[in-house]
């Protein structure tokens, strides 16, 4: 990048310690005045070697490790890992467990999107937005905390079920929280729609077209904002998503405004899913009949085989490729994180924009470097 530097160009490093970033990575920008002429990303500041660690932990211990892939969506990560293992074991959780999982994962989606919207607000200078959303997120986290006993790293899912049943009073509390949340989401939307400064900063900024987004391998809200209805919950239903009624939220503009709008709509959609789940959740056991893998799991050997399982993370498509050689530890786990390709697509997207837009575009992707750099 140093080569061919013209006299009025300079290289500026954003990161690894920069308020714009969701985590440490380095963005090298070649600037001409305020305009970005070239961009390059360097990763690896918080590489945790999760894939190597998983190879050295038993399946049960692995659940606690995959929590740490992305601290915002620990339950979705667990779902992916546990789903892989369940496929290898050939078991399926009973319906009540599946509903509980869906409830918790949708709550996770809501809290992640709330944080994403707030962060985006902060990146374009609207600091209070972060506080508004984080306050709503706190309520949702409280619900998750009530069920799992932890706010960030839950280790709640088990092979073939969940660790514990929903506590008493969960339904009532959830419904009241969700009703408040609906009002707040409407408020946020109205604020975003009526604010002229916000519109000037977002409309037409960082535009991805459907073809380009597909080519770049982007998934999740960033892709859906371009009008592609790609959602693993619909394309390849897991758990009980095939019984539930929901629609895939899409926008057509593909700019920062559309991405945030997709997130807001997805929060509404998640609330709708949660209401259905709470109505329909059947009574029954948490684990399949006659399973050895109940709450207290023995040392288990997973049959040899390989599997690729995908779930819909709040940021897009999360996949895990697991190879088992019949021992009690996975032979190889490949984590396909959703933010990794999105981050990769950042440099082509920001070339030609200004420094201020870099923050807006990067923020609208709702990043989690921890997961890209796992």
């Amino acid at each position: 990048m140093n080569e061919n530097l013209e006299p009025n160009e300079m290289i500026i490093h954003l990161g690894p310690q920069h308020p714009m970033q969701p985590g440490p990575f380095r963005l090298n920008l070649r600037l001409n005045g305020e305009t970005v002429m070239g961009a390059e990303i360097e990763l690896g500041f918080i590489h945790k070697g999760i894939e190597k660690i998983l190879e050295n932990k038993t399946y049960l211990q692995g659940i606690t490790i995959v929590d740490r892939i992305c601290y915002l969506v620990a339950l979705t990560n667990e779902e992916c890992f546990v789903g892989c293992t369940e496929k290898l074991l050939g078991i399926e959780p009973p319906e009540r467990s599946q509903y509980i999982r869906v409830i918790l994962e949708e709550l996770t989606r809501i809290q992640s999107h709330l944080l994403g919207i707030g962060e985006f607000g902060e990146f374009i200078g609207f600091v209070s937005m972060f506080m508004y959303t984080i306050r709503e997120r706190e309520e949702v986290l409280g619900l998750i905390d009530m069920v799992t006993g932890a706010r960030v790293t839950h280790s709640y899912l088990k092979f073939g079920g969940v660790r514990a049943d929903l506590p008493d009073g969960f339904k009532e509390k959830t419904i009241s929280v969700l009703n408040n949340l609906k009002k707040s989401v409407d408020d946020f939307e109205e604020m975003f729609h009526t604010d002229r400064i916000y519109r000037e900063r977002t409309v037409g900024v960082g535009v991805l077209t459907a073809d380009v987004a597909k080519n770049l391998g982007v998934s999740g809200p960033a892709l859906r904002a371009t009008g592609v209805p790609f959602d693993i919950r619909k394309n390849e239903p897991y758990l009980v998503y095939k019984d539930l009624d929901f629609k895939v939220c899409t926008e057509t503009a593909g700019d920062c405004f559309a991405r945030v709008q997709v997130r807001l709509n997805e929060i509404r959609e998640s609330i709708y899913i949660l209401e259905q789940c709470l109505d329909r959740i059947p009574n029954g056991p948490l684990f399949p009949e006659n399973t050895p893998y109940s709450r207290r799991t023995p040392v288990m050997r997973v049959p040899a085989g390989e599997v690729f399982h995908r779930v819909e993370d709040p940021r897009g498509e999360m996949g895990m490729y697991m190879v088992s050689d019949g021992s009690d530890k996975p032979y190889r786990v490949k984590v396909r994180g959703p933010y990794y390709p999105t981050l990769q697509a950042l440099p082509p997207l920001i070339i030609g924009t200004t420094v201020a837009d870099v923050a807006a575009i990067s923020g609208s992707m709702d990043g989690c470097t921890s997961e890209a750099d796992r």
């Binding site: 211990q61 280790s155 009526t194 799991t297």
Partner: protein
């Protein structure tokens, strides 16, 4: 224009704060909160399943007196809280239900040195105070 934002901001001014003065006013913990483990010495058989399950190898089985000052020794788990993830697997896997979650998450767990974070069976059983040995 931006009037809606301003209105929203003004609406928030009279509302009470949602934050707390932390050390004075403790957080409300959920019932299933996983804090520092509690060991029931009468139930523990010293089998070592917890030590094998621990993802971070934080648990060690040590032979210690069954009570402070006693001559009789038995095997009990000793948890290095500095490495503990608070995942709760040891509690799930305990065959006798000897381990359970406590509510301590800050008190007694803030130490200057890593070695002070080693929770001996006595401390886990709350037979001696967990704040003991806290030099500052």
């Amino acid at each position: 224009m931006v009037l809606k934002n301003i209105k929203y901001a003004l609406k928030k001014i009279p509302k009470p704060p949602v934050t707390r003065m932390y050390p004075e006013k403790a957080s409300e913990l959920s019932e299933r909160f996983r804090g520092l483990q509690i060991l029931d010495k009468s139930k523990c058989i010293g089998c070592g399943i917890c030590a094998n399950t621990c993802p971070n190898n934080a648990i060690r089985i040590v032979k210690v007196p069954i009570a402070p000052g006693s001559d009789k020794k038995r095997w009990f788990p000793e948890i290095d809280i500095g490495h503990c993830l608070f995942c709760g697997l040891c509690i799930d896997q305990c065959p006798k239900g000897a381990l359970s979650s406590g509510k301590e998450y800050a008190k007694g767990l803030v130490k200057w040195k890593h070695k002070d974070l080693l929770m001996s069976p006595d401390k886990l059983a709350r037979e001696i105070s967990i704040e003991e040995g806290d030099e500052r």
